[in-house]
Structures are given as structure tokens and as C-alpha cells.
């Protein structure tokens, strides 16, 4: 049996990692997955692997699946307003299906 869940994806600079993770956990995310990357946005381009003298600006992609859609939306909104007015980054939501909603 599959149950609907909401996935919050956050793309930001590595230097925000600790704060973002803390925020996620406070807000009640039971887990999250992080992958490293690079990218380009309003601000500037970041190499994904080759030596970057400003590694701390390289991109991380955090995704957290939540059973409750409201919580997910709340988190996304908090992060958008709390971080991405000042710092560069992106947050978006998508709908997924999971098998054991109790663990998300």
C-alpha cells in the first residue's frame, strides 16, 4: 500500500548545511539525504567537482520526505524566508508515494 507524502528539496551553499539540517530536525523531519553538487543561479557558477578555491560555496542538495504535507509546506516557507532572502538557494516541493508513512 502506497501513501502520499511530500518531498522538500533544498539546494543551497554548503556553508548553510548545519543550519538547514538543524532547521529540518526542529521542524520535525525524521530524516534527510544530502548530495553534493554544483550549479548556477542568480549569483554565480560553482564547479561541481574540480578544485574550487571557495569550496564552501559549492552546492548541496538536501531532500527530506515528510508524511504531513502541512509540515512540508511550513518547512519550505520557513527556509525560503529564513535563508533565501539573504543567501542564495532554492527550495521546492514535490509529491511522492511511500510505503511506511509512519517513518516519515
Amino acid at each position: 500500500m502506497f501513501h502520499p507524502a511530500t518531498k522538500v528539496t533544498i539546494i543551497a551553499e554548503r556553508l548553510l548545511q548545519d543550519k538547514l539540517v538543524a532547521k529540518l530536525e526542529d521542524a520535525g523531519a525524521k530524516g534527510y539525504t544530502i548530495v553534493d553538487g554544483g550549479g548556477k543561479g542568480e549569483h554565480f557558477t560553482r564547479a561541481s567537482d574540480s578544485a574550487s578555491v571557495v569550496n564552501a560555496f559549492s552546492i548541496i542538495r538536501i531532500e527530506a520526505i515528510l508524511a504531513s504535507d502541512e509540515t512540508a509546506r511550513a518547512i519550505a516557507t520557513e527556509i525560503e524566508t529564513g535563508f533565501f532572502k539573504q543567501y542564495s538557494g532554492v527550495v521546492y516541493l514535490s509529491q511522492v508515494e511511500v510505503l511506511r508513512p509512519e517513518r516519515f
Binding site: 557558477t45 567537482d49 578555491v53
Partner: protein
Amino acid sequence: MDLILAFGSSFLSQLRSPTLAFLIGGMALAASGSKLAIPDAVYRFIVFVLLMSIGLDGGMEIREADLAALALPAVFAILIGCVCVLIGAATLGRLPGIERDDALATSGLFGAVSASTLAAAMIVLDEQDVFFEAWTPALYPFMDIPALVLAIVLAGVSARKDNGAEKTQVSAIIVDSLRGSALSALLLGIAIGLIASPQQVYEEFYDPLFRGFLSILMLIMGMEAWSRLAALRSVAHWYMLYAFIAPILHGCLGFACGWVAHELVGLSPGGAVILAVIAASNSDISGPPTLRAGIPGANPSSYIGASTSIGTPVAIALCIPIFTALAGFVFEQ
């Protein structure tokens, strides 16, 4: 006149020195669109080894060093760091079309210190058999931290003026910059050098790798310098001007202090050059993240472009030979 000659020859020898060749080579590679890239993991390892090596050597020597002779240069380092930032704020900050935040962040970077430039200077002095106290590189944090802190604090002040932003805690910034990977490695090295006896591992491992790892770091710096130029072009041209002049100016300031320290507490000529070069250098590793977090309003393209694309090459290619030559000239008699 002799000075010109002295500088000329030192400059030429510097040109033939691989250090610079690798820097320029890196630029050439980036310019030619080469796909060669040094993996990030390797880059971080190289920086670690260089700073650990500097730290170990410094730490082992500080044990023997007489702390009085050490104190004055340290005080000078702190002063230079702050003065450089104030100069930047008072000049770059006043120019038309320059955001206050951007100006402060840039001044902060140019007040702070570059590990790669420092390492390059050490190798050049070494190549020219100019002696320097192994603890002088350990002056790094004394100049680096005050510069970053001051820049962030000033930015905070003006931010509060505009929109009552909350007060910036100095301590928090200091801790944050001490935690940066570059400074942690340096300080850990110093601590181990002071407490334990890492002589053997230093001589067998860290020291032999120094020159080679530096050559690769120079290559990376060159590539970065070129690839950030694009970003730099997109911002006000004043940054280029500042990035060209500031290192030389700061270097002179540092050299003057070095001269005073030479007269008062007998700092070696080589030590004076080191002081001049760290003053001339601008932070390209530890600084940016700290500033990024501390002055989020500032646009990285401006300060990183200015520092990596112009500041560092100028510091390495011009300031190192200038001040080495100057030392040979001034401290002759």
C-alpha cells in the same frame, strides 16, 4: 637605481622560478579551455599539508624563539590587518557605484592573508637562501582574523544603522574563522609542533611535499584566477583598480613594520619580507566562507573575483619579488 636593478634581477629569477610558472600555466590552461582539473579532494588535501607543514615548523621553532621578539611583529600584524580594512573602507567604499557591503567584504579579504601566497614567498626566499624565522608564517592568524572581524563588524554596524539588524558578536566571528579548515590546520600544526616532537614526520613527509604541492596549488590558483575573471568583469571596474593597488600598498605597510621590528627586536630581513607578503596577500581560502556568512549582503562575484583574479596574482607575481629585492637593498648596510 640599484633598487630597480635588484628588483629587476629578483623579478627575473622569480619569473624563472617554477612557482610563478605554474601560476601562469594555470591561467593559460583555463584560458585555452583545457579540461584538466585538479580534483577538489586533492586541492583540499594539498592545502591541509601545506598549512600543517607551516604550522609544525613554526611550532617547533616557537619553542626556542624568545617571545619578546615574537610579540612586536604579532602586534604589528594585528594593526596591519585592521588598517588595511579601514583603508579599503575609506577608499573603495567611497567610490561611485560601489555597494558598502561589497566594499567592506573586499577590504576584509585584502586585509586578510592568503596561505598560498605565504607558501610561495617561503619557497622563493628559500630559493634565494634568504633566512627567515620559521615562526614568522605563524603571524598569519594575527593579521587574518582581525581583518575579517573588523570588516564584518563594520558591515554589521552600517546594517544596523539602515535596518536595526541584531548586533554582530565579535567572539562568534573569531570562533568561526578559527574553525575554518585553513586556520584549524595551521593552529593544529603549531600546537603539535610546540607540544610533541614531530621533527621526523615533518622532515620525512611534510617538508619534502611542500614544494611539489605548492606547484600544484599555484596551478589551481592560476586556473581559478582566469575562470573568475568573467564574474569580475560583470562588476564595477573600481574593483580591478583596488585589487591591483591594494596588495602593493599593504605590502609596503607590512614592510615598514618589518623594518621597525628589525631595528627594535632584530626581526630578520627575511622575516620582514614574510610580514610584507602576508600583508600584501589576500585571503583566498579561509576568508570567503567567513565573509559569505558574515556579510551575506555582499556579492561574492565582486570580492572573490577581485581577490582570486587580480589580488593573488599581483601578490605572487609582483609583491614577492618587489619585497625580496627591497629587503636585499634596505638591509644591505
